[in-house]
Subunit: 243 residues, 2 copies
C-alpha cells in the first residue's frame, strides 16, 4: 500500500501583525501538523513569533537554524557554498516528510517569492514533491500604509532596491526613480542615507521600522540615528498624476 | 448629545480570490453596515464581486460609478477636472456619513496605496474624519506566485511600471531593470510587448491574466494575442544571487 505524497506549502505570513495574514494562511497554519521555519540560531525566530498561539496542539515544529548570517561576507564564495549545502539538506528533509505522506507548512515572513528564503527551498523541491506558495502582504505595503501616504499615483515608476547594494549603485538608481522602496536597510542605514542625499531625495525620504507591529515607527530618514532594525524600510513617495 | 464620529476604512481586498483577503479585511467587511465601492457604470464592479456572499444582511451598499473611464484621454485637462469634481463629491458623501456616526468600508481591489482609486478619497478625507487604510496582497504578488517563479533574488532591483507610459519611456526603463513588473497592461499589450522586444527582454517576459482567480492564465508574452484583460500583469523575473 502506498501513501499519498504530501505537499510542501510556503506560506507567506505578511509583515508581522497576525491580523494581516490571509484567510488561507491562517487556515493552513492552524491545521498544520508539521511546521518549519527559519531562524537565527539561538533566537526564537520572527516567523515563529508571528504565529504564537495559532499552532495546533499536535503540531511538530521544525526550526531551521541559518548556518551563517553575517559571519561570512555574502560575496565570499564560502558563503554561497555553505548556504547551498544548507538549503540542499533542508530541502531533502522536507522532501522526505512529503514523500512519507505529510503536508509541511513552511512559515515565511513577508511574501515568499519577494526576497524570501523560501525560494531557495522551492527551487530545490520543485519537480520532486508538490509545492504550493501562498502569497502575502509585503513588508513594503505595510510600510507605505504606516506612512499614511500612497506610494504610487498615476503612472509613477516604483523602484525597489536592497540596502545591501553599494552606495554608488544605490545613488544612481535612486536618481532615476519616482517612487522608491529600499528593503533590508538595518545596518546599511548610513549608506542608504548618503545615497539618498547624493541623489537629492533625502528630504523626501521616510524610515519605517517594524511596520504593522506594536513597535512600528515612522520618521523622516534625515532624523534617524545610525542604526535601524533589520526589517526597516526606506520610502520615497511618488508624486504622479492626482486629479 | 453628540454622536461619535465614524471612521472611513479603505480596505484592500487583494488580488481577487476572497481566500487571500486578510483576516482584518474579512472581519471589517462582514461587520460593515455601510459598504462603498467603485465600479464602471452599468457593471457589477470587480471589488463588489470579490465580496459576494460576505456582506451583512443589513449592509447598505454605496456603489460609486466612475464618471469616465476611457471616453476622455487621461492627459486631457477635462479628464482631471471631471475626476477631481467626482472624487470631491464622493469624499463629501463619505465624510457626511462618518460625521453622522457611521463607519464606512470602502472596498479596494489590490492594495489601496498602490495605484488604487481610494487614494484620491484618502487625500480629501484626511484631517476631516478618521481614515484607516488596510493593506492587502498586491495583484503583482499574486502574479509572480502564479508564475511559479520568485520575482527577486539576492540584490535584484525590481522595477514597477504602468503600461500606460509611452513606448520610448517603457523601453528605456525596461533596459535598466533586473526584475520587472508592468501593471495596467490590458489595451497596452502590443506596446508593452514592443518595448520589451526593443530592450531585448521579450524572451524572458510572461503575461499573467487574472492572477488568483479561476480564469488565471500564465503564458509567455511572445505568445500572447493582441489584447488582454485590464488586470493583466507582465513580469520579467530577476536572476540575482542564489546559493
Amino acid at each position: 500500500m502506498s501513501v499519498a505524497t504530501g505537499t510542501v506549502y510556503g506560506v507567506g505570513l505578511g509583515p508581522g501583525d497576525p491580523d494581516l495574514m490571509s484567510l488561507r494562511a491562517d487556515r493552513l497554519i492552524r491545521g498544520a501538523r508539521h511546521v518549519a521555519y527559519f531562524r537565527k540560531a539561538g533566537r526564537p525566530g520572527r516567523a515563529r513569533t508571528i504565529v504564537d498561539g495559532l499552532l495546533h496542539a499536535e503540531a511538530q515544529e521544525i526550526p531551521i537554524d541559518y548556518p551563517v548570517t553575517t559571519e561570512i561576507p555574502v560575496d565570499d564564495p564560502a558563503y554561497a557554498e555553505c548556504l547551498a549545502a544548507f538549503y540542499a539538506r533542508v530541502a531533502a528533509h522536507l522532501a522526505d516528510l512529503a514523500q512519507s505522506g505529510h503536508d509541511v507548512v513552511v512559515l515565511c515572513e513577508g511574501d515568499p517569492f519577494f526576497y524570501g528564503s523560501f525560494m531557495h527551498l522551492h527551487a530545490r523541491l520543485k519537480g520532486q514533491v508538490p509545492v504550493v506558495t501562498v502569497p502575502a502582504i509585503t513588508g513594503m505595503s505595510a510600510a507605505w500604509t504606516a506612512s499614511g501616504t500612497p506610494i504610487t499615483w498615476g503612472d509613477d515608476v516604483l523602484l525597489v532596491l536592497t540596502g545591501t547594494m553599494d552606495e554608488e549603485a544605490l545613488a544612481g538608481h535612486v536618481a532615476r526613480s519616482d517612487a522608491l522602496v529600499v528593503m533590508k536597510v538595518g545596518r546599511n542605514l548610513a549608506k542608504v542615507r548618503r545615497a539618498l542625499a547624493r541623489a537629492g531625495k533625502l528630504d523626501r525620504a521616510w524610515l519605517v521600522e517594524c511596520a504593522s507591529l506594536p513597535e512600528e515607527r515612522v520618521l523622516p530618514l534625515a532624523e534617524a540615528g545610525e542604526a535601524a532594525p533589520y526589517f526597516s524600510i526606506v520610502l520615497v513617495h511618488g508624486r504622479g498624476r492626482r486629479p
